[in-house]
Structures are given as structure tokens and as C-alpha cells.
């Protein structure tokens, strides 16, 4: 299994979530975060003066999915989270070592 972490625009979150749902992917943890990328945020111009606004609000989605689903998840996030402008975010994929449900004592088998 893999952990997919996506940093996206907050206003794109609803459409990404619905698209994931339509593909049968429900489980996720989200957090409101702030960050910046290579552009170091946004520069606003006030009468010749530049005011940099870095650390723009973003939405972080964390999902643990089957390895076979990773490509589909990435495709959905890219398709529904994109505006084509700077600041659309990133997707990271990491391996999962262990997963267990808190409710039960069992440890879920983790596929490789």
C-alpha cells in the first residue's frame, strides 16, 4: 500500500474529492496548511512597490491506497486539481510499512 499526499488549492478540493469518490476512493485525512513552492508565493504590486505574499493557504490530502490504485489517484488529482497556473501543488507517494485499525486488534496485511 502507498500513502498519497497531495498539496492542492483549497478551492479545488471539492472537485478532487468528488472525483475520487466517483472512483470509489473514500478514505482520506485532510488538513489546512500554508506553504510555498519554487515561485516563493505571490508578489503583489502596490504603486511600484512589490509586496511578497508567501506561504499561501493550501489543502493537504493524505490517503492510503492500494499500490495498484496509485496511478489512478494521481491522475484524478492532476485532472481535477489543475488550473494551469503556478501554485497548483504537488503529489507525493510513499510506501506504507504497517497499517492497523484502532477499533480491532488485527494488523491489516500490507501489499507490496
Amino acid at each position: 500500500m502507498k500513502m498519497v499526499t497531495a498539496i492542492i488549492r483549497p478551492e479545488k478540493f471539492d472537485s478532487v474529492k468528488s472525483a475520487l469518490e466517483a472512483s470509489g476512493i473514500y478514505g482520506m485525512t485532510i488538513s489546512e496548511v500554508r506553504g510555498r513552492g519554487a515561485q516563493k508565493g505571490i508578489s503583489l504590486q502596490f504603486r511600484g512597490k512589490t509586496v511578497p505574499v508567501d506561504l499561501i493557504p493550501k489543502m493537504k490530502i493524505e490517503m492510503v491506497v492500494k499500490s495498484a490504485e496509485v496511478d489512478e489517484v494521481i491522475r484524478i488529482i492532476r485532472e481535477h486539481g489543475r488550473t494551469g497556473k503556478f501554485g497548483d501543488g504537488r503529489v507525493f507517494v510513499m510506501p506504507i510499512e504497517t497499517m492497523c485499525k484502532v477499533r480491532t486488534d488485527e494488523v491489516d496485511p500490507v501489499d507490496q
Binding site: 478551492e11 479545488k12 471539492d14 472537485s15 500554508r34 505571490i42 503583489l44 509586496v51 505574499v53 499561501i56 493557504p57
Partner: protein, 397 residues
């Protein structure tokens, strides 16, 4: 001759009405996205400050100076010349400042139209021109001896002057400034509903000063206005709540919006109708204002915080309702229900003319300001939010 009881009462009412302006700011601030929270509250305060100075310098004179052709007051009271501590019942200065807090509140309501996208500098210019060209003439028509007053139109505390004018002006302004980026595409849910409820509570509280104070005396008429204000707000709150419940959930934002709709509708009628009539006036307001909101959403109009649906449509209903439910035992005039069709027709004409005047003049004015200065911030500033883009402040750090 100054009446100390009346003076004490109207002083307190004036302070209560002042609190309605930041109340509007908190109400609207809770309804926008978090990045525009400070901007929305600040716009209300700034509207108040701009209008306060305009009012004492020349606005009061335009509204309450001697009548010129039924349309506007003359410049006798410019710089408060001749407005002093003497007066009929209450000091002239007190009447002036009681009217000042109404004028400031009205511009604060209009900020609904430009939520989350207005350039502050242009709003200040627009606000100054709007209060001069729209509010001051309307106040003169209704209360300063203008044509509406001469015709016998009834507007106790500002149904036409404050609510129809701000509501329909907001609609015109929203059409000129355009929709927010992403309106209708992604969610723009209110970010802080308790703040909106708090703002609504301050408005409801302040409204007692607004309506009862408009009696300009601590007397039975003030008591009647106070009582019908409570009732209409309660009826409006429950009517909207139940209407929303039928379609889904009984939302708290709907409930408080319904209370405001009831308050708006009872405003012109408060000194003319009896308490039982105010149940009908408030309940009908809750339902038609909710309908107006749904209509606006269906049409894809981004009059963002529903000044049009609540104040415009509610004010229009209130003006008509005054002509329907007025009873001579309260304010000396009968309405349609008591056989006086003429009064209803006068109310209809008055309200229709105010709708037309406020909408057209505001539309032209907004176009002029937009062309000359640009009403709207850049797309990037809108994306970052007006708190940072316009004020350099943030609730998020």
C-alpha cells in the same frame, strides 16, 4: 423646548443604531471566506467613517435643508450651520446625529455587493458619491419634506431610504463589478457562522433604537414600534427557518437572515401598524426574502451576501405592507385592510420610484467609478484575499 426624557431616549437609540454598522460587518464577515474576514468588517467601519464626515459637512443639509422642488434640500445647514443645541423636543444636533447613524449603516449594507473583490480606494470614492447622489435625495424625499412626504407616503424608520435603496443599489453594483472568481464553480461557504449570528444579534438589538428611536420621543408610539419590531423579527426568523427546513436543514444562517428580513419589513411600518399585523409582515418577509435568495442563486447573480434579497425585497414588501396594514389608531392613517386603497397606491408608487432611482443611479455611478478608477482588485489580489491585499493584515498567521 427640549424634552429631557425624549433627548435621553434618542441619545441612547443613536448609540444603539451606531452598533448596527459593525454588526453588519460581523454579519457579513462571517459569511465570506476567511481570507476576506478583516476586509468585510473594515468596509463597514470605513463606510461609516466616510458617511459621518460627508453628513456633517453637507449630507445632512442635502437631506434636511429647505426643500428644492421636492427633490433635494438646500445648503442652509452646510458645516452644521444653524444646527445647534436647541430644538423641538430634542436638540437639532441630536436629530442630525440620529440621522447620521442611519446614513452610515446604509452604505455598510451596500458592501454586500462587492464582498471579497473590491478595491478599497475605489469603494471610498464610490461610497462618497453614492451617499450624496442616492441616499441624501432619498432621505429628503421621505423625511425632509420631498415629494414622497408631500404625497403622503409612509416610511417610519427607513424602508425606502435605508433598505430598498441599499438592496437595489447592491444589485446594480454587483452587476457592474461582476462575479467573484470561481463563483458557481467552487464552494464559497461561510467560514464563521457564529460570527454571523453575533452580527445578527447586534443588528436585532440595534434595530430597537432604529425603529423605536424614530418616534423621536419616549412615548407610546416608541413602545409600539419597539413591540412590533420584536414580533416581526421573531416571525421572520421562524418563517425562514421552516421554509429552509422543508428544503433541507433548518440552517442558523437562514434563521438569522429571516429575522433580518422581518426587521427590514417592519421598519417602514413600525409607527403605523399594530402588533398582530407585525406577525404577518414578518412572516411573509421571511418567506419572500428566502425566495428572493433562491431566485438570485438560480440566476447566478453574485450579489454576494444578499443585501438585495433581504433588504431590497424585504424593504419593498415592508413599504407595501405599511399601505396594507396601517391602522389609524396607531399612526393616524388607515391602510388597504381598513378601506384606504389610496394609501396602498401611494406606497406602491413611492417604493417603485425608489427602486428605479436607486438601481439606475447606482448602476451609472458604479460604471463611472469602474471606468475611471477600476472597482475591482486584480485576480491575484482576489486570490490572496483582501485582508492581505488591501490591508496588509491577516487572521491566518
Amino acid at each position: 423646548m427640549i424634552d429631557s426624557g425624549a433627548t435621553a431616549f434618542v441619545l441612547i437609540c443613536t448609540a444603539m443604531v451606531m452598533l448596527m454598522t459593525p454588526g453588519v460587518g460581523l454579519f457579513y464577515g462571517g459569511l465570506v471566506r476567511r481570507k476576506n474576514f478583516i476586509s468585510m468588517i473594515a468596509l463597514a467601519f470605513i463606510a461609516f467613517a466616510v458617511v459621518a464626515l460627508q453628513w456633517v459637512i453637507f449630507g445632512y443639509s442635502l437631506a434636511f435643508g429647505s426643500d428644492i422642488g421636492g427633490l433635494i434640500g438646500n445648503l442652509d445647514y452646510v458645516f452644521l450651520h444653524g444646527v445647534g443645541m436647541d430644538g423641538d423636543g430634542i436638540p437639532d444636533l441630536l436629530f442630525m446625529v440620529f440621522q447620521l447613524v442611519f446614513a452610515g449603516l446604509t452604505l455598510a449594507i451596500v458592501t454586500s455587493a462587492v464582498a471579497e473583490r473590491v478595491k478599497l480606494s475605489s469603494f471610498i470614492i464610490f461610497g462618497l458619491l453614492w451617499t450624496t447622489l442616492v441616499y441624501d435625495p432619498l432621505a429628503h424625499w421621505a423625511w425632509g419634506g420631498g415629494w414622497a412626504a408631500q404625497l403622503g407616503a409612509l416610511d417610519f424608520a427607513g424602508g425606502t431610504v435605508v433598505h430598498i435603496s441599499s438592496g437595489f443599489s447592491a444589485l446594480a453594483l454587483a452587476l457592474v463589478i461582476g462575479k467573484r472568481v470561481g463563483f458557481g464553480q467552487y464552494s464559497m461557504e461561510p467560514h464563521n457562522i457564529p460570527m454571523t449570528l453575533l452580527g445578527g444579534a447586534l443588528l436585532w438589538f440595534g434595530w430597537f433604537g432604529f425603529n423605536a428611536g424614530s418616534a423621536l420621543a419616549a412615548d407610546g408610539l416608541a413602545a409600539n414600534a419597539f413591540v412590533v419590531t420584536i414580533i416581526a423579527a421573531a416571525a421572520g426568523a421562524l418563517a425562514w427557518l421552516f421554509a429552509a427546513w422543508i428544503r433541507g436543514k433548518p440552517s442558523s444562517v437562514g434563521m438569522i437572515s429571516g429575522a433580518l428580513a422581518g426587521l427590514v419589513a417592519i421598519t417602514p411600518a413600525a409607527g403605523f401598524v399594530d402588533p398582530m399585523a407585525s406577525i404577518a409582515i414578518g412572516a411573509v418577509a421571511g418567506i419572500i426574502c428566502y425566495w428572493a435568495l433562491l431566485f438570485r442563486m438560480r440566476k447566478g447573480l453574485d450579489e454576494s451576501l444578499d443585501a438585495w434579497a433581504v433588504h431590497g425585497v424585504g424593504g419593498f414588501w415592508g413599504a407595501l405592507a405599511t399601505g396594507i396594514f396601517a391602522v389609524a389608531a396607531v399612526g393616524g392613517v388607515d391602510g388597504l385592510l381598513y378601506g384606504n386603497l389610496g394609501q396602498f397606491v401611494i406606497q406602491l408608487v413611492d417604493a417603485a420610484v425608489v427602486v428605479l432611482y436607486a438601481f439606475v443611479v447606482t448602476f451609472v455611478l458604479a460604471k463611472v467609478v469602474d471606468t475611471a478608477l477600476g472597482l475591482r482588485v486584480s485576480e491575484e489580489e482576489e486570490y490572496v484575499g483582501l485582508d492581505i491585499a488591501q490591508h496588509g493584515e491577516s487572521t491566518q498567521l
